[in-house]
Amino acid sequence: MGNILDIGISGLRAQQAALTITGNNITNAGTEGYSRQEVSFTENNPQFSDGVWIGSGVSVDSVRRVYDEFLTEQLRRDTSTFNNFNALAVNAEQINSLLADSGTGVQPGLENMFGALQAAVDDPSSLPAREVLISEANGLVDRFSAISDRLFEQNDIINGQMEVIAGQISTIAEAIAELNEQIQFASASAQGIEPSELLDQRDRLLKELSEFVSVNIVSQDDNVFNVFIGNGQALVIGNEFNEVFTDIGAQDPSRVDIYFRKGNVVQNVTKEISGGQLGGILDFRDEVLDPTLNQLGRLGLIISQTMNEQHKLGVDYDGLKGEDFFTDINEPLKMYQRVLGDRRNADPDDRVIAVEIKDATELTISDYEITFPGPDDYTYRVRRLSDGELLETRALTGAFPDSIEVDGMEIRFEAGSFQQGDKFVINPTRRESQNLDLNITRAEQVALASPISTDTAIGNRGNATIDQGEVYDLTTSYFSEEGEMTPPLLIRFTSPTTYDVLDNTDPGNPIPLFPPLMNQTYVPGISNSILPEDEGKTAFTSYGGVLPLSATYQKKGTTVEPVNGFFPERIEIGFTNPENGLSVNQKTLVTPLNASAREIAEALSKRDGIEASARTTIQLSDFETDANPFLDTEITLNGVALTDVLGPNQNKYESSYPEEVPDPITPNFLADRINANYELQDMGIVARSDGGRLTIIDLNGDDIELELSGDHGDSFSVSNGEDIAVRETGEATLVELNEFEGYNFDEGGPYTYAFDVPGQGTINFEMKGSFATGDDLLQGFRDAIENSGYVHSGNIDVDINEKGEVTFQPRLTISGAGTAGTNKIAIGGQVKVIADEHYSISISPPGNNLFDVEPVGEPVAFGFHVNISGVAEYGDEFTVDFNTDGTSDSRNGVEMAALQSEKTVNGQSSYSDSYARMVEVVGSVTSRAQINRDSSEVLLRNSQSAVDSTSGVNLDEEAAALIKYELAYNASAQVIQVARDIFDTLIGTFR
């Protein structure tokens, strides 16, 4: 009977508990992460009484936390995924708009700048048009800066975000560890019954954690969760936690990396982190921010380099050579900025590496890594990070600087103690978008004009025309002086198919160039390129003919051959391999004693990489005749008698030859005879006379042999045709000297002079004394030069021209030998050697009188092309000179404007194509991130739904439960009432 009471009470208690739980569910219906609890009743053990088992009521068996471990895991994973894509999409969208917007994008900047350039090209003499160009170029620079500033700002922002998130992760880790401990304790003290609220709390923390980063949960037996992030890094083990924090990146101080501290060990886990906001931010950095910065930087570099190169081929409004339009991409500071040393490199911090951009159009947008893997301290590897390809494995030579070229850059190790374990990162283009800046500031500095201008002489009889010329290299010697061409060129046709190119510094007196460019071939009917192409060739020129100390005497009846006096020379021809820098010498060429220039040139031409030509020049002057003539003066050239008297039926000369032989013999007479002689014409001999000097040229380079027969007083002087110029040194300025007046060098002064002799260097002398007449003055110079240490044969002949310029020639006088014999002389020629690129010549010691001991090659290239086409006549002339006052010229501007559509980037895209591609890539990534975000959001909602569906509180359900338990409670209460009635009845019975 007492049982009924107990049963009732048990019921009451049980329902009360159920109502409490239900109430708890209802009040927590809105609590995030709350798992509803369900009560389960169990019948108490029955008792055996009066032969039957009678039950003893109900009690609460357990309060079950309705919770599905797998659904929760799913929810955590989806949370990480969604946050990952969300973080990526949000950041990428910002960059997306920045690049494409017409107010901030680079494209309109490019359009405006090139539009202004075209306007300036239309009207090059207008300074305002150039001003507009400069301001639009500045506008382009500003756009680059604005975008790159914004990108770097974003970098700073995400740095901050990463720091905050890392802090939060650590805080949550701490809280989870604590909860683990509490749960453990609570479970233990409750004999293994789990404390639902604590579990819910921990789940909430885990979900929050998964918003930040992907987590991996491993549960231990006693309900302890161990949390792992990244690639197995243990964030929480039991009740211990490890810290996650951010610090300056080991490789790049401008960005932070994620570090994991376990005990005393700090690990950089940036690459291991994935998922969650942190993973999304890191993905953004790798997939959007860095590539965009790199591409933008590369575009800036390419624009700078290509526009600078073209701009420097032009001249500006003031006629000066164009400077860099944008700042030089290889300023020292920029070169060092491109390399970053890993912070973990061993001390001392003294390593210096520079990266010079050799050709921006070949750059990639990847970053590079240099590692020193060991085991020694000088082997290093260069790896390209975009595809991981190992580009080079090299060893430092130990001598600085040490360079290596990859992908358009030159990596230069300049100093420092490199060692095993060193690491460096190269960002060739990352920071360059900030570096784009305009170098020129004034409108006059815009170089729109081309430096050269061509002219057709008025007197031309042919109809040949010359084009406007094109410059490809302004660093040659022709443009070494500002505002002029040194020297300007005169192209003179010596026949319809041959022309000479001459130095036209003095238009009244054009002289051959050095090295000479004579007798070039011209083909009428096609467009001829007049000047040799720049193939990297160099020219070496020999000294020229050697004047002997005296003529060779040939006794009558004998035959003596004079020699040209060239000693044997040992010529080495070397080839330097451009790839590895090694030099190889060919077999030494030994020129025979007294070989003619032609023979030497032919021998040289047989060698690889060498082409040589020869020409012999001599000058005759000062023809004297004996006061008492007895013999006829006879002069023979190369065996051909020139002073013979022939009858009317002669066939030795053309009909225009002078018949009468003058006495003394004159240069004009000899010149006419030589030019009219068939035999000499066949030998390639030409002669010129200006009345005072006879110049004889052998176009093939054979020796020129002269023989003089006559009285002892018959003579003439011979020189090798080269005038040596005497220049004033020192500060005394002179009255112009002339040949007719004397001068007093004792007043004013000191009067110092110098002259250069190939092979003897510069020789100085001083003029002293007073000279009364012009002749004395000339003698004074002669003496001074003779005593100056100048080594020569023959006499010095000094000449002062109308402008007061002093020149001299060493001359050998040849006289007749009377009846006993004749005097002969042979003069050798000059050899011009053109060596192909990478070839050079050197002379094995001892050098003699053919080439300079250390021959210096002059570059053959002019730096510009000109073309002539049409039919030219003998005497037609064209000039090429500096484009002075060419303010209406915009040829260089046209070339610069053409850069807009030229495929400058890797030979495949133009500036705007490259920019458009960059915008497209960012757009694609953003679009993909947005799609992924949307789809993962749907998945997230679904898994949230699934979890809610299982563990969420349904108020209606709870309301129904309330009713149910209340009824049950009332019913149990009734049972107690009945028990009490029974008891009362029982007690009343016994009263």
Binding site: A29, E111, D123, I458, N460, D690
Partner: protein, 412 residues
């Protein structure tokens, strides 16, 4: 499927939020008229849009170039037309002057009128465009190409440059012609010569145009050039300026003219030509007489005037005058030919510009259409989409409030 209370509220809320976002996007499209708001909306179309925009910008630039080219070419044409008229008038006067009944005074009167025309020609040759650039000066457009010397002779100081403008990616047109080609390189009736001073001269030497006095002598000398060099003053006694005349080919002295005394403005006759040098020469200065088959228009008129001013009424001079008139008429006819050749070239160039303009306009139209297709929104579709989405949004909002009122607790 069991729905938790919180879950049902979240579901309803999410639906509202999603619809709101969709309405927002559509509303932005409709109000801006653009379909592609950010490159992410359609990455491939964005690239194409950027390229088309650049293409259109370039076309506009070319159109500006075309206008500039047309303006310059029209100016040149008008100037050349005036020059042709002036030349025609000079030709008429020349014919008049050749009439045998005129005296020297009559001829001098004609010469005066020709002088006026010469001035007019001079200023036409030095025409400037509206920007102040001399159109016939080649690349040296900042200074007048035809400069008048003290002795009345015009010298060409410009160069032979010609400027081109781009009208399309591969089309260029020349926007000017230089004065040398037009007015200086004119075929002469006979072989003649041009005089010039060496630009490196230190003294102030000037030379007149000179003329041929002895045809046979000059024909022998032609095509060689003369170089007159001034020697040091001490070369003659008494000391004074003196000169030597050599030929350019080999430097030989011509006609024995060595160390001749210099008279300012005096006539020098050598190798069949006569010329006058004036001014103060320094030793080393050079005067050049280059043989040429061409003669500039200004030199032709100059020589004509000199002849009309100085030739007397005697038979000898009459013969010289006849030859001069004949040569002048030939030269002027050649000049007219030279000018009209260029005028027809101008016409051809203007045609090129015209054609290019219409071609460019067509291409531009096509590009604009494509651009519009890619980037503009289809209003009909967008507006109807907007109304659908607004409807959905309203429905979501109403159903939310309705469902939230349903609860068993209301029945308790």
């Amino acid at each position: 499927m069991r729905i938790a209370t919180l879950q049902s509220f979240n579901l309803g809320l999410n639906a509202i939020l999603d619809n709101q976002a969709a309405v927002n996007t559509t509303q932005q499209q409709v109000s801006s008229g653009r379909r592609v708001l950010t490159p992410a909306d359609d990455p491939i179309a964005s690239t194409k849009i950027l390229q088309l925009q650049q293409d259109l910008a370039q076309r506009e630039q070319y159109e500006r170039n075309m206008t500039a080219a047309e303006n310059r070419l029209n100016l040149e044409e008008a100037t050349l037309s005036s020059i042709t008229d002036a030349l025609t008038r000079i030709q008429e006067l020349t014919v008049n002057a050749g009439s045998g009944t005129l005296t020297i005074t009559d001829r001098q009167a004609i010469s005066a009128e020709i002088s006026q025309l010469e001035n007019q020609l001079g200023s036409l040759f030095n025409t400037k465009d509206p920007n102040g650039e001399y159109i016939f000066a080649g690349f040296k457009g900042a200074s007048a190409p035809f400069q008048r010397q003290d002795n009345g002779r015009y010298e060409y100081q410009g160069d032979e440059g010609q400027r081109y403008l781009a009208l399309g990616d591969t089309t260029r047109v020349a926007t000017g012609d230089n004065g040398k080609k037009l007015f200086v390189d004119v075929r002469a009736a006979k072989n003649t010569f041009t005089t010039a001073v060496n630009p490196l001269n230190e003294g102030s030497t000037q030379v007149n145009a000179g003329f041929v006095v002895d045809e046979e002598a000059y024909a022998e000398f032609y095509p060689d050039d003369l170089i007159i060099t001034f020697n040091s003053e001490a070369a003659v006694t008494p000391a004074g300026p003196n000169y030597t005349i050599r030929r350019a080919s080999d430097g030989r002295v011509v006609d024995g003219m060595a160390q001749r005394e210099y008279k300012n403005g005096g006539e020098i006759v050598v190798a069949g030509i006569s010329l006058k040098i004036s001014g103060d020469p320094e030793p080393g200065d050079e005067v050049l007489a280059k043989s040429s088959p061409k003669q500039s228009i200004t030199d032709t008129v100059y020589r004509l005037r000199q002849g009309l001013d100085s030739l007397e009424d005697n038979p000898e001079d009459a013969l010289t005058l006849d030859i001069l008139i004949e040569d002048t008429l030939t030269n002027l006819a050649n000049a007219q030919t030279s000018v009209s050749e260029v005028r027809s070239q101008l016409g051809a160039r203007l045609n090129v510009v015209e054609n290019q303009r219409s071609l460019s306009a067509d291409v531009k139209l096509v590009s604009q259409e494509v651009l519009s297709e890619l980037s503009d929104v289809d209003f009909a579709e967008a507006v109807s989409r907007l109304s659908l989405q607004t409807f959905l949004l309203e429905a979501a909002q109403q159903s939310y409030t309705t469902i939230s009122r349903l609860s068993l607790f209301n029945q308790l």
